[in-house]
Symmetry: C2
Subunit: 522 residues, 2 copies
Amino acid sequence: MNMLGTFCVRTCSGLMGLRTANLFRPLHSFPGITVAQIDEEVAKLLELKAQLGGDDGKHQFVLKTAKGTRDYNPKQMAIREKVFNTIIRSFKRHGAETIDTPVFELKETLTGKYGEDSKLIYDLKDQGGELLSLRYDLTVPFARYLAMNKITNIKRYHIAKVYRRDNPAMTRGRYREFYQCDFDIAGQYDAMIPDAECLKIVHEILSELDLGDFRIKVNDRRILDGMFAVCGVPDDKFRTICSTVDKLDKMAWEDVKKEMVNEKGLSEEAADQIGEYVSMQGGMDLAERLLQDQKMSQSKQACAGLSDIKLLFSYLQLFQVTDKVVFDLSLARGLDYYTGIIYEAVLTQAGVAPVSTETPQGAPAEESVSVGSVAGGGRYDGLVGMFDPKGRKVPCVGVSIGIERVFSIMEQKAEASAEKVRTTEVQVMVASAQKNLLEERLKLVTELWKAGIKAEVMYKKNPKLLSQLQHCEESGIPLVAILGEQELKDGVVKLRVVSTREEFDICRAGLLDEIRRRTSEA
Amino acid sequence: MNMLGTFCVRTCSGLMGLRTANLFRPLHSFPGITVAQIDEEVAKLLELKAQLGGDDGKHQFVLKTAKGTRDYNPKQMAIREKVFNTIIRSFKRHGAETIDTPVFELKETLTGKYGEDSKLIYDLKDQGGELLSLRYDLTVPFARYLAMNKITNIKRYHIAKVYRRDNPAMTRGRYREFYQCDFDIAGQYDAMIPDAECLKIVHEILSELDLGDFRIKVNDRRILDGMFAVCGVPDDKFRTICSTVDKLDKMAWEDVKKEMVNEKGLSEEAADQIGEYVSMQGGMDLAERLLQDQKMSQSKQACAGLSDIKLLFSYLQLFQVTDKVVFDLSLARGLDYYTGIIYEAVLTQAGVAPVSTETPQGAPAEESVSVGSVAGGGRYDGLVGMFDPKGRKVPCVGVSIGIERVFSIMEQKAEASAEKVRTTEVQVMVASAQKNLLEERLKLVTELWKAGIKAEVMYKKNPKLLSQLQHCEESGIPLVAILGEQELKDGVVKLRVVSTREEFDICRAGLLDEIRRRTSEA
């Protein structure tokens, strides 16, 4: 009671007093109050909140991970390791280096890079010092890194977690914390050669991961902008209409059109013209046809984009990947930073967690069983320049593999399969058949470790032989080295093959070689 | 002006009004104001702050990473990969699985686990929804994981970044974002066997990383508590005195004593008694001597700890690691959750970024060139029970490798060494000697990729041969496959060995084997 009274008076007099106070810091636009004074008032209020016991004292401890996040158990980690190895192998095959950046950036580093998605950025609490945000992707930190270190040429991959305050459908492998596997090529090069290599890499990775059939949709920001211009979209509506077109993979054309007309205020006529274009799909031939299109050819931008699509397809032919690549005018990745070619890979095989049964107007039937994007990227020639103090540009193109959905599919596969996923690589268990042999077990396992053999003992003085053998069966350990009084006397170890239950006496001196011989494949 | 006026009136009337308002939510302790109302006022103030342009409009974009964080460039990543591989190899050799947890946890998951260090936790901004914090270590999330999944037995490693709002000396390899490499054994086992294996692993890893000589200091929470009791420290001061003892690795005894007496209100006599004990170092013999110590032996707790230290050393002898392990009563790791044995590894070799020249009273001279902790850990038998709804305990012991300091040392070494660190694994560069051979280069590199060979082309239509060769020299690519009109006519490729500048014509059909043969070591 008393405290509250004091508090009220202090807060109010504090704020009221600002109007006439002698200010020691310059003000931005409102004379009479400084940010420091607001901060002080906020701190007082929050202190009171803490005294009130946080959220009205309704605290009951909940045992869970944060919304939209998950733990990975050892089985999931084993799958994850396999997937990462496949992806990294491809990145390295194409000569990429790797870098790492911090999980948070200065808030202003991320500001203005993501368009409408900026609201999904996680901010850190202001605990004094810099204002920080969790990274939303790996591309903006990469551009910051290039500008900061004045790097004009690099081919790098980066595998790390990114953060989005989305409301994801986690059953479909979408999370608020998720991995991205990015490959980017920065540098001033001849048109479409690095762009084509990015698509080649997507093709390689999706083929090697063996996830079933896929398509890589390709479009170009300049074609989209040109299309909007010739369809009569006002300049200042390009970005917002583009965001709406971007929803075509989840919404039917009718709903997209409604949003354009009713929410974004586009004329019905313009919307219908857009609708015609965004139903088009093809290859190099479609690019050629559109270069002749009466309306489209009026846009210089569109023509530049279309010529590049043609060039791209000629390189894709040499890379032998045109079987999966489609030029698709409905593709409109929403991020603000793209300037040229954009692409997105989707799995098309039926039966794996379909995302939507609605089809955009004119889309081929197979699209209806799309399980959504598993990779995406594009060219962003302006992003590094946004960070460079002198605005120097470093052209970039890159691709991001959306790995969480891949994990989900692999997990489903592993569960459906009879084969057991091993979570350790232990080659041999050092066991004893009788009591009081802990010291002997520890001595032997030390010898094995020293020789680089992966080995375990049970952490019991006198474990039962049966429980030692059971542990091997459960975790897939192929061999057991069994010590007993007799074996010790004879200078041998009884080596048991878990799968066949065969046992052999091996002389101590030959044990290392025997274990290596029998587990050289594992 | 106008806005500010409105704001002031609204805020003040809002808060004043609370005293008589008809409240719709129950209050915790202060009738007259709810947390929801405070939240509302805070939101209004923050909105005004935003309108004022953040920090009084002094915005100038700064191109940097957040304080206490850093990027890793490709060279650093190559070193990091090597270090991680060494560590993971050891963890796997000892049969560990791996798990992963999210980078943030519910704030309350971390609350009350870190003692005085809790102030270093990064909180996320309250953007609606759950209150979240960045993980401070990997141990608490591990305990949460065990309780949540009702796991009673696991041996796992976890390598990931953790976050502390410290004021680190980054020149010494300390950061606000840094990697931890944790290995933990959870389960009800016979005393000191898993504990000894943790020390064995530290010994293995530090030996294999080849960082110079090291010591592993060992102590026990129960010995510390028993020591405090027999020295006359009041029960409620154990934790805070323990934190002060923990500073002995950075502060001289005299300063530690001053803090105990002047700041923490301990009697001078008690402090002096503590001073005598914390100067003691030894092995199994010291544990035996202290078991006979008139004062120490009065504490049951201390005796239990001392007996376990004896048992531990007997296992360490079997593991052949006693050469580096010291029982050191000054070791007092500050985290609240330790319940039994604790340990810390320090590098002792002179010349590598010494941390401090002050020595605690009685410490041996070599400690004076300690470069600080590179690993630490201990037993925490109560932590999982803090998360389990029924308080079920899962005894745990583990170790954390503080890898950032290791990276720093390895980097210094790499810079001092003449050998160049390669950042890619490219085996061959596909080059051309004449113009207009881009298509041929793309075709050949596609063949190489298909065969799993790591290969590059320059992204230029007509690159100069010299610049192609220079790129190979710079990035350590061992071979160049050179195409020219003549080679294409003859069905051969000119293979150039970069180091010797030798050139051979290889028939196209034999190229893959020739490249593999010449790079099988790389």
